[in-house]
Symmetry: C2
Subunit: 353 residues, 2 copies
Amino acid sequence: MTSPPTTGPLTFDELGLATRNRGMPLEALRYDRTPTGLHYLLIHFDIPELDPDAYRLEVGGNVERPLSLSLDDLLARPARTLPVTMECAGNGRALLSPRPVSQPWLTEAVGTAEWTGVPLAEVLSEAGPRPGTLEVVFTGADHGVQGGVEHDYARSLPVEEAMRPEVLLAHGMNGRPLEPQHGAPVRLVVPGWYGMASVKWLTRIEAVTAPFDGYQQVGTYRYRRDEEDPGEPVTRIRVRALMAPPGFPDFLTRRRIVDAGPVLLRGRAWGGEAEVVRVEVGVDGAWEEAELGPPLGPFAWRAWSYRWEAEPGEHVLACRAADAAGNAQPLEPPWNHGGFGNNAVQRVPVTVR
Amino acid sequence: MTSPPTTGPLTFDELGLATRNRGMPLEALRYDRTPTGLHYLLIHFDIPELDPDAYRLEVGGNVERPLSLSLDDLLARPARTLPVTMECAGNGRALLSPRPVSQPWLTEAVGTAEWTGVPLAEVLSEAGPRPGTLEVVFTGADHGVQGGVEHDYARSLPVEEAMRPEVLLAHGMNGRPLEPQHGAPVRLVVPGWYGMASVKWLTRIEAVTAPFDGYQQVGTYRYRRDEEDPGEPVTRIRVRALMAPPGFPDFLTRRRIVDAGPVLLRGRAWGGEAEVVRVEVGVDGAWEEAELGPPLGPFAWRAWSYRWEAEPGEHVLACRAADAAGNAQPLEPPWNHGGFGNNAVQRVPVTVR
């Protein structure tokens, strides 16, 4: 039902996805908050057309009091605003070999926005999950076929994850209503998890008593050895640092040219499993500690910087982060069948003149 | 200095450009005004970091009264707001064979925004071009290497084009200040021309008495037979129609699935040479007239629609526009060395069930 990983050239299917979906150019790592139009986007099917005036969010399943909420109902509730770093689980996929055939991200599928919305826990508590509720299923209005299965995009969360106070029914992004491509009028935002959990164009929330087996839950977003392996679910964001490439680029190759002398290397580091506690910068394989900036919040990336004395010649720069739980970025990509969670260190070749 | 056109597979250089630059998913043809974060983007080098408080726009060269304008100076002047359809000159490049190696657009490099700014003609008139002024050169803050030439991005307009009342020094897009990637704090907007003319991050305007020979003017953006041909400059947008693909997609292939019965096909048509006067829809090679919606403005796309009775089976849908000057879209791509101005008709294979 899906194409096997390949060592062959990029396909036109992959190009079709790359021209639709949107990476964040890495110089945008300079912004604490990613401008809305620079945030990464991964959209499985088409952006649906939802009328905000007719919008309803149905909350049902194994609950005491099913709810049907309009956008105004949600806007009337107390809102919470949180800076959240979101990353696509497939970020880094095109750097794997063999390469899983899907959206061919290099390293740019990330962004940090200030999301505003109603805590999901409050709405769920109002509906009152009945005993036996195991998961909560979130369904979007985006519809299509993937892996041979026709479906509305849907994902579940274990009920204890759904009840985390920072999980939002978001209706605002960066101080404005959501733009259509980010899930208007209402989407889920699950801080700390890869982006697939943050269901866009949310239309239905359902408490269920058995594990959800929808395509996006069991057919993909799994760490699998091969097509047959059921694998482990993709959940929280693996720790990662990225660098804004220094100097200026060549248009076609994106090769960097840097003037000799002191260069302030800057980037961001984040992870969904524990706090980032360390970033190192590698220059031609020798690692030094970078300076961490102030935290923006528990679910947002953290700035880092490192002053490099650039000497003429060819160099390879790199960066790697570690978190408080002892996770660190690998030097080589962690391969899996779907190309998920590739948090291998970024390498940036530069020419110093 | 540049890679020759190829019939080979897509390269990682092309992928690097595709993951940075941003197409407009074609379902967004439904919006009169493209949401800011869905507008296409083509950025040659890095998005520069300009401090709006320190920003100066220098107006000089062969003028009576050189000017140095702050952002506040520009914001204090009367502004004009215009809906303008902008399209990348390279739109359609990756559909050519052999394929010029650059940003590999399929058909999605287009968008329509409401641009707000000061008419360039008023600022130019205040500076007072001296006799002998032939062109006006516009320089941006974006810096890099292309075709082996290090430069700030710069383009010129013939003085009579620069004096058109609809050419704007734009500081607003869709009712808000420009986002960084769209040229903040000030960019040029040249309605009717392909996007390369609308210089972003504008820092300098210079009246000149000889034809401008910068890289972006003479080294690229030319209709050339081959590397040696000086060619003709790329200027105004060639007439084109696009369709929002009907039904719903398969994730990987983007193949469309449509339910049998009446289907309202919808799209947009535009061109920079003359008014769009006709759109036709092709179903399996048979062409019928589409209905045109009301014009949004002289430089913006026009909606069209066509009611199709979809019968089960495999079909190929197409659309083509013609303008008041007698220009019509070709059925086969017009090839040139740089892959510019490919306005061949779009074809959308669909499966009706």
